[in-house]
């Protein structure tokens, strides 16, 4: 099998793309939003204000659970859960004399080095979240802003460390690191006590709207890819888009991360949404669709990045956040 991706446009993107290729394939299967515990933008009825109604189970569904159960029974030790690495590097201490512990110590240092690099890649996510908070909650005091900024920076550090840990010693994790969420949630938590109820609700609505926009963009991206390959009619395009909307799963936003990846000489097929596609194809299209997703289904090589890999965005430090500028 050959896999080829589009050429990343920046060195940061290139580095991130390399890391993505290293992501264990199993991680992609579970790379959806975890339960919204701890997210203050989640409404009481279970709707994730920042994420719509997420499907709570793993993407693999019952089959996925079954496969994991079989896998665990055969090789119970194979799925390691890496020990979390403390944020404070000082806790690592001196390198131990014991060879086994020294090896673990060195591995930890490698993870930290990688995490430093990832922190740079995650910066645009932080700036985006800060901007959104500033726009929806303009009345924050200087102290509150500094607190939120500190929470955001700590979240970036922690997320980078988790990501690097998973990359380098991760084994087969139950859930891939969702960088977008793990930076947003601590910031929202820090924001809540400082923002008025009205402004915090506005912030939640914006998060929800952004999430809905991503889902809509992913839906049309899926249809566009099918259209390229299967020459859909306008009616088929509409029908598939509606079907996708009616049965939407959050994990399907992964389509937005497809930057031209090719498997076996073909663009990856959005086979995860098969049930919404099959009924709308004619016999000839169906036959080609089946061949295509067998050859280049995303389940084969799929991964889910979920953040801005280009590194472009709001780079200039916003002095408002450090409390130097009032409005």
């Amino acid at each position: 099998m050959t896999m080829r991706g589009a050429t990343p446009s920046t060195p940061i993107a290139a580095a991130a793309a390399c890391l993505l290729v290293l992501t264990p394939p199993g991680a992609a299967i579970f790379a959806e939003k975890p339960a919204a515990d701890g997210d203050p933008t989640v409404a009481e009825d279970g709707d994730d204000a920042a994420g719509g109604r997420a499907s709570r189970g793993p993407v693999g569904g019952i089959l996925g659970i079954g496969v994991r159960a079989v896998f665990d029974a055969i090789a119970p030790g194979a799925r390691r859960t890496p020990q979390p690495i403390p944020i404070d590097e000082g806790e690592d201490g001196e390198m131990p004399n014991d060879p086994a512990r020294a090896q673990a110590w060195q591995q930890r240092k490698q993870v930290r080095q990688q995490a430093k690099h990832m922190e740079q890649i995650f910066q645009p996510l932080l700036h985006t979240e800060l901007e959104m908070i500033r726009q929806t909650c303009p009345d924050l005091t200087g102290e509150a802003r500094r607190e939120i900024l500190a929470a955001g920076r700590a979240a970036v550090t922690k997320t980078a460390l988790e990501f690097a840990t998973q990359q380098l010693i991760g084994g087969q994790p139950r859930l891939a690191v969702d960088a977008r969420r793990s930076i947003r949630v601590p910031m929202a938590t820090a924001l809540k006590p400082h923002a008025s109820a009205e402004q915090f609700a506005a912030y939640g609505r914006e998060q929800q709207a952004r999430h809905a926009r991503r889902a809509r963009a992913a839906r049309v991206a899926i249809v566009a890819k099918l259209d390229r390959h299967l020459d859909l009619s306008a009616a088929q395009r509409r029908a598939i888009e509606e079907d996708l909307e009616g049965h939407w799963e959050d994990a399907w936003v992964r389509e937005l991360d497809d930057n031209g990846m090719v498997i076996n000489g073909e663009r990856t097929a959005p086979d995860y949404a098969k049930a919404c596609i099959d009924p709308h194809l004619d016999e000839r299209q169906l036959s080609e669709w089946q061949r295509w997703h067998r050859a280049a289904g995303q389940a084969v090589g799929g991964f889910h990045a979920g953040w801005n890999l280009d590194g472009q965005g709001l780079h200039e430090p916003d002095r408002w956040w450090s409390g130097e500028e009032e409005r």
Partner: protein
């Protein structure tokens, strides 16, 4: 007893044979100079010509070693084309054996067939109309194939080493020739082609309207897809609110750049190209309403993106994703 001793001695001698004393390593004669074949650097340009012209997405470049399948066919013999949901494999006859005609012609015919099938789906062609259009297509294919084959023939059996200057020079010329062939291919049924001139006279007004409508819908859909995808990137970069998003989206959707939908090549509009096209179109929108909608911080970044798109205008236009004024391809 003696026999046992002899056996032990023999065994000892045999066992000791492979052992080398230190002085056995004195001789350090260099191996006779054998010329190392530089296979890893040699690129078969004939095979790459087909791969880059018929298979490569976008206007990028792919480098392959000398790809030959067991039956002596080239990579192009595996080109797959979907024509209205029907899979056709180029370059093979019904039995899947050797191609019955020039591989270039077979590939171009398949791509043209896709166009014809799309037209048929949009306006229900009669058999007579279909025959007439096919005849026009055949004529255009012959013309285009002759041009492509002439350039392709330059590279038959040519293998270059990209590590030497001469090889790089040949590769550069090769790229120019493939790029020219891409333009020929893109325009084979457009502009001054026989097909383009015959189509309006062969079809009824209602049928032409059907094709126009189908094209309009597909073009509008593709633009919507590009705008939606790029706006999610901008969401990530700028932290847009819904109102800001709507202002930008409305401005973009109102300016349809005239995407080319009758492509005769594999997918050309890569993500990078799509984003820059959207930034370019955004740079042509009325700036005051955009500026008013976003914050000063967002505007700084947005202006950078728009400038990026603007600076790439000529590159974007060269990629062939926009409908161009008709005319012969320029070298």
């Amino acid at each position: 007893m003696i026999r046992s001793l002899q056996a032990c001695l023999c065994a000892g001698v045999v066992a000791g044979l492979p052992a080398l004393a230190d002085d056995d390593r004195i001789v350090d004669q260099p191996e006779p100079a054998v010329s190392q074949p530089e296979q890893q650097h040699l690129i078969d340009l004939a095979a790459n010509f087909d791969a880059n012209l018929f298979e490569q997405q976008g206007n990028g470049w792919v480098l392959r070693g000398g790809v030959q399948f067991g039956n002596g066919l080239n990579v192009r013999d595996r080109v797959r084309v979907m024509a209205n949901g029907r899979l056709i494999i180029a370059g093979a006859d019904a039995s899947g054996g050797r191609p019955a005609e020039s591989p270039t012609r077979a590939s171009v015919r398949l791509l043209a067939e896709k166009r014809l099938e799309r037209i048929a789906a949009a306006c229900a062609l009669t058999e007579l109309q279909r025959r007439d259009l096919r005849l026009a297509i055949e004529s255009d294919i012959r013309r285009c194939t002759a041009e492509i084959e002439a350039l392709r023939g330059k590279y038959a059996g040519v293998r270059v080493n990209l590590n030497d200057q001469e090889g790089q020079k040949t590769w550069h010329q090769f790229q120019q020739d493939v790029q020219h062939c891409r333009r020929i291919l893109r325009n084979v049924l457009d502009g001054d082609s026989l097909f383009a001139s015959v189509l309006p006279t062969t079809l009824e007004a209602g049928q032409l309207a059907g094709i126009e409508e189908e094209t309009r819908q597909r073009r509008s859909f593709r633009w919507r897809v590009m705008v939606a995808a790029t706006l999610t990137r901008m969401d990530d970069m700028l932290g847009l609110t819904q109102v800001q998003h709507d202002v930008i989206e409305k401005a973009l959707l109102a300016r349809d750049p005239g995407l080319r939908v009758a492509e005769l090549k594999p997918e050309q509009d890569t993500t990078h190209l799509q984003q820059n096209l959207v930034y370019l179109v955004l740079s042509e929108c009325e700036p005051s309403s955009l500026r008013k909608a976003v914050s000063e911080r967002q505007w700084k970044s947005l202006a950078l993106l728009m400038n990026q798109g603007k600076s790439m205008r000529s590159w974007i236009e060269q990629q062939g994703i926009l409908d161009q004024p008709s005319g012969p391809p320029q070298r």
